[in-house]
Amino acid sequence: MKKEYTITVYTENQVGLLNRIAIIFSRRKINIDSLNVSPSEVESIHRFTIVINETVEVVRKLCLQIEKQVEVLKAYYNTNEEIIWQEMALYKVPTDAVAEKLKVERLLREYGARAVVIRKDYTIFETTGHREETDRLVQFLEPYGLIEFVRTARIAIIKASSGFHDKIREFEAVEPAEELIENEFLDKGQAVFTM
């Protein structure tokens, strides 16, 4: 059964790696719903957050192919239940609509929207939330003359994760301790991060 999976990849910061990872999906004609790449909590290590809609078998194989790339340290896949995630969105609306329509003002407040820029002609709001919440606000704002709208990719934190600082030390060791090496064929069911 297909469902939404979030893939988290820790990588070196290397030119061309984005392409190497992207073609693992495109080769199998799998569409990436959302992609975020940014520096992680560990210096020089980057973190990819990729959202796709696929079966668990496919996602598992994709992660193994990703991990096979020389500059990839680790790839994890999680269902929505296993992560906390957010997307950010910016909305540009005519200032008149906000100022004059009480309903608009109330809704923006309800959605926790924050004004970023207020000008005579337009106002830019920002929200963070799940995709559906953003979609609902867009739908609501459209009749009031939504000028422009943009959203970021999903970023996600794995609930069970204990971060990457300790892991990177093991990766750097020429002879890592046996119990710290993750063996997905033996250690299933253990905590997400066992390296």
């Binding site: 990588t11 070196e12 030119v15 061309g16 392409n19 190497r20 073609i23 080769r27 598992r60 194989k61 193994l64 192919q65 991990e67 096979k68 020389v70 500059e71 990839v72 340290l73 990177i168 990766f171 750097e172 020429v174 890592p176 046996e178 090496i181 063996n183 997905e184 064929f185 033996l186």
Partner: protein, 587 residues
Amino acid sequence: MSSIVKEADKKDTLIQLSSTAPVEAREISGSQAVLEACIAEGVDTIFGYPGGAIMPIYDALYDYNDRLKHVLVRHEQGGIHAGQGYARSSGKVGVVFATSGPGATNLVTGLADAMIDSTPLVCITGQVFAHLLGTDAFQETDVINITTPVTKWNYQITDATEIPHVLSKAFYIAGSGRPGPVLIDISKNAQIQKFNYEGYTKCNHIRSYRPKPIVRKEYIEAAAQLINEAKKPFVIFGQGVILGRAEKEFKAFIEKGGLPAAWTILGLSALPTDHPQNVGMLGMHGNYGPNVLTNECDVLIAVGMRFDDRVTGRLDKYAKQAKIIHLDIDPAEINKNVTATVPVWGDCKETLPLLTQLIQEKQHKEWLALFNQYTKDEQDAVIQAELHPTQGELTMGEVIQLLNELTDGNAIVVTDVGQHQMVACRYAKFNETKSNITSGGLGTMGFALPAAIGAKFGALHRTVVAVIGDGGFQMTLQEMGTIMQTGLNVKILILNNRFLGMVRQWQELFNDRRYSFVDIQSPDFVQLAKAYGIDGASIDNRGLLKNALQKMLDHDGSYLLEVMVGKENNVFPMVPQGCSVSEIRLK
């Protein structure tokens, strides 16, 4: 003890060197650094073709001619296939040089071939000056992005100071773990640039790359238990045994357990043909017993193989009754096509001996006899007529059979792709490992001639016979020029059926004999060889075959023998596409 002292001495020297580094470090060009890296990595032969963007490296090569042998090929595709042949016969990393643009794009087929067949290669391509990147400069092409899907790793160098450590990474990545091709693209300015060279250090660790896992005893124990409880265990093995240099360990394993073992096309020659437990070839044109009994065994032990669709046939009817143990170094291969009951993730050089320790000594005589029974059926239905025909047109099988007799199974046999490949792999006899060189995964026609040239350079003391079809030979026959110029001794055996035989066979069996564009004409191959200074002969008579083959083998230097074989002979047995391995057809 003495070695420790030596190590200590070495360290002292190193420290001394580094303490006087400003004096010791010398200024060299990026091009020289590339060649220094090759020498430090033990490279002895480079296959390549010069051009504008790689000229500085070739200029430097002029001075390294005494330490590095460069083989000038006739086309970059020939160069990379030669590199593959070299890697496969020598077990070392093959090195290929090509220029930018078309030189680099001509490598792509070979890269794809090396990628799917896990062949270690380091390809070095020239690139336009860094300041011209992205300007559509002359002979500029985006080589890194073109080759990303078909390389294990690739990297573009635009500054000479990167060369030593990037090349050491390249050799390490290409040859370690599951091997594969690596491409390093070096812009012309970096080749010319002078820098302070502080020596070359071999790479042995990259933090984001773990070539092989730490072997865990849990699955070794679980696998051993399954094998010990098995009544009908069956081993299938691939190139992993050869790449892992684990031929001895593998033999010890199957001998202790009394396990029948069948090979994939790339696993061929890892176990001598005559070994009593070698039960033959798997897959679409494999042997009868190994295919049928895959669906009757109770424990299937896969060693260093990846369950290619040509091996498994229809997956949902493949070995469903069996518990499956899968030994592989690449975690992405485990559970990719066939779900393993016990995955044994690791280098088979390490895992096989551990497994051998824990398994009981057994014979499985009745089970092994069953394979022999199937062999007998196949012998009667197919093999006898193929290998020992007494009348009618020559068969490919009898040529290979005679070749076996005359070489005694000691030659390296390089095959192209198609019917002759299947026949040669089915019937060629091998005593030694690394003796079967063929394009397995990609099925690259035109592979054999250049790969045979490389294979010969990789094993100069051995006889190399390239078995090629009339179609495949015409794809890369320009490499006869390379043979001419190097004076190399390669035997070219063309099995000419005046058809693109494998496609014709499918058209006959599945397309109602609608022979669509498989009728291929050939030039006079013997004359053509002669033009390149290669002696040869063409025969179509059974009575002349043995002498002709003997003459080819005895000839001092390269020789081309064309054998006219039956036009519409088919390769059997065959597992038709989309069928289960147990539905294998004998005719």
